[in-house]
C-alpha cells in the first residue's frame, strides 16, 4: 500500500514538473528579449554600471541583451518571490494532510514580523541598544520564529481542547493575531534593523543574485519531505488525515499530532516572516494580508487534498512555483494585469480538477487490480 501511494505522489509531482517545464518553455519562447545595463563589481565591493565612450565622445552605459525569462537574474528573482509562499505552503500542506486548515498563517506572519521587527529595531542603528547587534539578531530571530510557533501552538491547543473545527478557530485567530499586531505597532511601520541581519538575509552574489530565500526554501522542503516520508510522526499525519477514527483506535495520539501540525504551520510562517524582514527591511500590521489564500492555493495546486490524507512538501513548493511563474509570466508577456486574477484562479481550479481526475483514475486502477 505505501509503495502505491508513493508512486501516485511521484506521478502528481511529475505532472507539476511538466507544467513548470512547459510554462518555462512558453515564457522563454514568447517572452522576447530585454536590454539590461551591464554591471561590474567595483574595488569597494559595490556593484556599478559599466560605461563606454561612443563615436561622439560621450560616456554612455553599456547594455547587454538577454532572454526576458531565461536569464539568471530573472530565475533568481522568481525563486525569491516564490520562497515566502512556498515555505508557508510546506507547513500548510502538513496541516491539510492531517485533515485541518490554518486560516491564520497570514496573521501569524504579520504578528511574528512586527514583534521580530520591534526587537530588531531596538538593537538597530537608531535603537536604544545599538551596540549589541549580535544579541539583537539572535533575539529578533528567536522572537519572530518563536511568536509564530506559539501562535500555531495556541491554534492546535484550542482545536483539540474545544473540539471546534479548525476553520473556526483559525478564522478567529486570524482576526486576533492581526489585531494584536496592530495594537503593538499602533499602525506604524517598523524598520531600522541591525545591518548584520539585513546583510545576512539580503546577501547577494558578486553578480547581485539574492539566493538566501532560495536556500532556506530548499532546506524547508527537504526537512518537510523527510518529516512526511521518512519519519513515523509524518506517517501519523497521513493516517489521521486519511481516517481519524481508525488512527485513534490504532493507538495514535491524535491530539498530540494535531497540535504538532499547527505548530509546524506556525513555524513555517515564522521562517517566511523572518526572511521577508531581512529582505525588505520593515514590518507593519498589514503584512501578509490574504496570504492564507495564496498559501492554501499553492498547497492544493501541489496536490494536497482538502479532505486530508494526501499531499507532499515538494508538491507544495512546486505548486507555489507554478502560481508565481504565472504571475511573473503575466509581467514578462506584457499581458494586461486586469486578467491576472482570472488566469491564476482558473489554474487553481484546473489543478484541483486534474487532481480529482487523477484520484479517480487511481481508484479505478485499484478496483481493476482487485478483480
Amino acid at each position: 500500500m505505501p509503495s502505491r501511494r508513493l508512486s501516485l505522489f511521484r506521478l502528481q509531482e511529475g505532472g507539476l514538473l511538466v507544467v513548470i517545464f512547459v510554462l518555462g518553455a512558453l515564457l522563454t519562447t514568447f517572452g522576447g528579449r530585454v536590454r539590461t545595463p551591464l554591471l561590474t563589481v567595483g574595488a569597494d565591493g559595490t556593484r556599478e554600471r559599466v560605461f563606454e565612450t561612443n563615436a561622439a565622445g560621450e560616456r554612455v552605459p553599456v547594455f547587454v541583451e538577454e532572454n526576458k525569462f531565461l536569464n539568471v537574474r530573472n530565475l533568481a528573482q522568481l525563486a525569491k518571490d516564490t520562497s515566502f509562499t512556498a515555505i508557508m505552503a510546506v507547513g500548510m500542506s502538513i496541516v491539510i494532510i492531517s485533515g485541518g486548515i490554518d486560516l491564520s498563517v497570514g496573521a501569524a506572519y504579520a504578528l511574528a514580523s512586527v514583534l521580530g521587527a520591534m526587537v530588531f529595531n531596538h538593537y538597530g542603528p537608531g535603537g536604544p541598544a545599538a551596540g549589541s547587534a549580535v544579541t539583537g539578531v539572535v533575539l529578533g530571530m528567536v522572537t519572530c520564529v518563536g511568536t509564530a510557533a506559539l501562535c500555531g501552538l495556541a491554534n492546535g491547543a484550542l482545536i483539540v481542547a474545544l473540539r471546534v473545527h479548525p476553520f473556526i478557530v483559525t478564522l478567529g485567530a486570524m482576526a486576533i493575531l492581526r489585531g494584536i499586531a496592530f495594537v503593538v505597532t499602533r499602525g506604524q511601520s517598523v524598520g531600522g534593523f541591525p545591518t548584520a541581519f539585513r546583510g545576512m538575509i539580503g546577501w547577494t552574489t558578486a553578480s547581485g543574485l539574492s539566493l538566501v530565500p532560495l536556500g532556506v526554501m530548499i532546506v524547508v522542503t527537504v526537512v518537510g519531505w523527510i518529516f512526511l516520508s521518512r519519519l513515523a510522526a509524518g506517517r501519523r499525519v497521513y493516517a489521521i488525515g486519511g481516517n481519524e477514527l481508525a488512527s485513534r483506535f490504532s493507538g495514535i495520539g491524535v491530539e498530540r499530532v494535531k497540535i504538532g501540525v499547527y505548530v509546524i504551520s506556525g513555524l513555517s510562517a515564522g521562517v517566511a516572516a523572518l526572511l521577508a524582514l531581512g529582505y525588505y527591511g520593515s514590518a507593519s500590521s498589514g503584512d501578509g494580508q490574504g496570504y492564507e489564500l495564496n498559501v492554501i492555493a499553492a498547497a492544493v495546486v501541489g496536490g494536497a487534498s482538502l479532505t486530508g490524507g494526501r499531499g507532499t512538501a515538494l508538491g507544495a513548493v512546486l505548486g507555489a512555483l507554478v502560481i508565481q511563474m504565472i504571475s511573473s509570466g503575466i509581467v514578462i508577456l506584457g499581458i494586461d494585469q486586469n486578467y491576472s486574477q482570472i488566469i491564476i484562479g482558473s489554474v487553481v481550479i484546473a489543478a484541483v480538477v486534474l487532481d480529482n481526475l487523477n484520484g479517480w483514475l487511481a481508484r479505478r486502477r485499484l478496483v481493476r487490480a482487485g478483480h
Binding site: 530585454v34 545595463p37 556593484r47 526576458k68 499602525g187 511601520s189 520593515s282 498589514g286 503584512d287
Partner: protein
C-alpha cells in the same frame, strides 16, 4: 520651385528617419490597490500622458500597470523588481509602506531605472521626484473646511481608512492640529477601516449607532462616498467634508449632504508622473524640486458641474 521641392524632400526624409527611429519606452505604474477608483484615474492619466507625449516627441510610450489587488507593500516591491527585469525604462509608484519599498526603489535606481513616487512617498529612497498632496496640509484643510461648515463647534469624527498608510497617518495628524485651533470642536475619535466603500459605510453606521451626538465627519479619504446612499442622515443634520471628488461623490454635493469635497488630482498622479519620467529618461532633465506638491481643489455646489465634466475624460473607457 526647385528650392521648395528640395525642402519638401528634406522634410520627408527627416520625417521618415524619425519614424524609423521611434523609440519605445516602457513605464511601470505601481499603485496601491487595483480596486480603488482614484488609482484607476491615475492609470488613465498615465495612459493619456503616454499618448500625448508619444505623439509630441515621436516616442512609443507604453504604460505597464502592475498594481496589487489589495494593498500589499511586499507585492509592490516584487512588482518593481519584476519591472526592472522586464526592461522597464522608468517606474512610478505610490508606496503602501515606505520602509518596505525603499530598498526595491534603490535597487531599481542602481540598475539605471529612474523611479518617481506619487500620492505616497518613500522619502529615504533614491526616487528622483515625488508628486502629490502635502498630507498634513490635506488633513488640516479638511478639518478647517469642516470647522467652517460647523461654525467652529460640535463633536467630530475622523474616518481614516488604512491605519498602516503613512500618508493617511499624516492627514490624521493635520486634521487633529487644525481641530485644536477651535475650542468648540471636539474630536470623538479616529475610525479606521478596510479601504472599501462597503467597509467604510459599515464603520460610519456602527459609529453613529453608538455615538448619535456626533455632528460632523471629516473623511480624509473618500471611501464611503464611492457608493450611493452612504450617509443615512438628512442634508444639514450632520456636517461632512471629504477628501477626493470622484463621480459617485459628486452626488453628495448635489443633494447637499456634503457641502465641500477636496479633490486630489488623482488623474494628474499618473499624468504628471509620466511627464516627469519622460523628461528624466528622454531629455535627461530633473525637476526643479524633489517634492512637487499638487494642491487640493475645493468642489462645491458652485463648480460641481464643471468639475464633473472632467470625469468623462478621466474614467477608464
Amino acid at each position: 520651385m526647385k528650392r521648395i521641392l528640395v525642402l519638401l524632400l528634406a522634410g520627408a526624409f527627416a520625417l521618415a528617419g524619425r519614424a524609423a527611429e521611434t523609440r519605445t519606452i516602457t513605464i511601470g505604474l505601481v499603485a496601491k490597490s487595483q480596486g480603488n477608483p482614484v488609482f484607476q484615474a491615475a492609470r488613465v492619466g498615465a495612459e493619456d500622458a503616454a499618448r500625448e507625449l508619444g505623439a509630441r516627441n515621436h516616442l512609443n510610450i507604453k504604460i505597464d500597470w502592475r498594481t496589487p489587488n489589495e494593498e500589499d507593500a511586499q507585492k509592490q516591491a516584487e512588482a518593481i523588481e519584476q519591472l526592472v527585469l522586464a526592461g522597464a525604462d522608468g517606474i512610478a509608484v505610490s508606496c503602501s509602506d515606505a520602509n518596505k519599498l525603499t530598498d526595491a526603489i534603490n535597487r531599481a535606481v542602481d540598475n539605471g531605472v529612474p523611479v518617481a513616487t506619487f500620492d505616497s512617498d518613500a522619502p529615504a529612497s533614491k526616487r528622483f521626484v515625488t508628486y502629490g498632496v502635502d498630507d498634513i496640509d490635506c488633513g488640516r484643510q479638511t478639518m478647517e473646511e469642516l470647522a467652517k461648515v460647523m461654525g467652529g463647534k460640535g463633536i467630530v469624527a475622523i474616518l481614516a481608512g488604512n491605519p498602516n498608510a503613512p500618508n493617511l497617518q499624516n492627514r490624521v495628524r493635520g486634521a487633529k492640529e487644525a481641530a485644536a485651533k477651535y475650542p468648540g470642536l471636539k474630536i470623538r475619535d479616529v475610525y479606521y477601516h478596510k479601504e472599501t466603500p462597503q467597509d467604510a459605510v459599515a464603520r460610519i453606521e456602527q459609529v453613529m449607532q453608538s455615538n448619535p451626538d456626533i455632528t460632523g465627519w471629516a473623511f480624509i479619504g473618500g471611501w464611503p462616498l464611492f457608493t450611493e446612499n452612504a450617509l443615512k442622515w438628512p442634508a444639514g443634520s450632520v456636517a461632512c467634508v471629504s477628501v477626493d471628488a470622484l463621480p459617485a461623490q459628486l452626488a453628495y454635493i448635489r443633494n447637499g449632504q456634503v457641502p465641500v469635497l477636496l479633490a486630489q488630482q488623482c488623474y494628474q498622479w499618473g499624468h504628471r508622473s509620466v511627464e516627469l519620467l519622460v523628461d528624466k529618461i528622454v531629455f535627461k532633465k530633473n525637476p526643479p524640486e524633489v517634492k512637487e506638491v499638487s494642491p487640493l481643489i475645493p468642489v462645491t455646489k458652485a463648480n460641481v458641474d464643471a468639475y464633473a465634466a472632467n470625469w468623462t475624460k478621466w474614467l477608464p473607457q
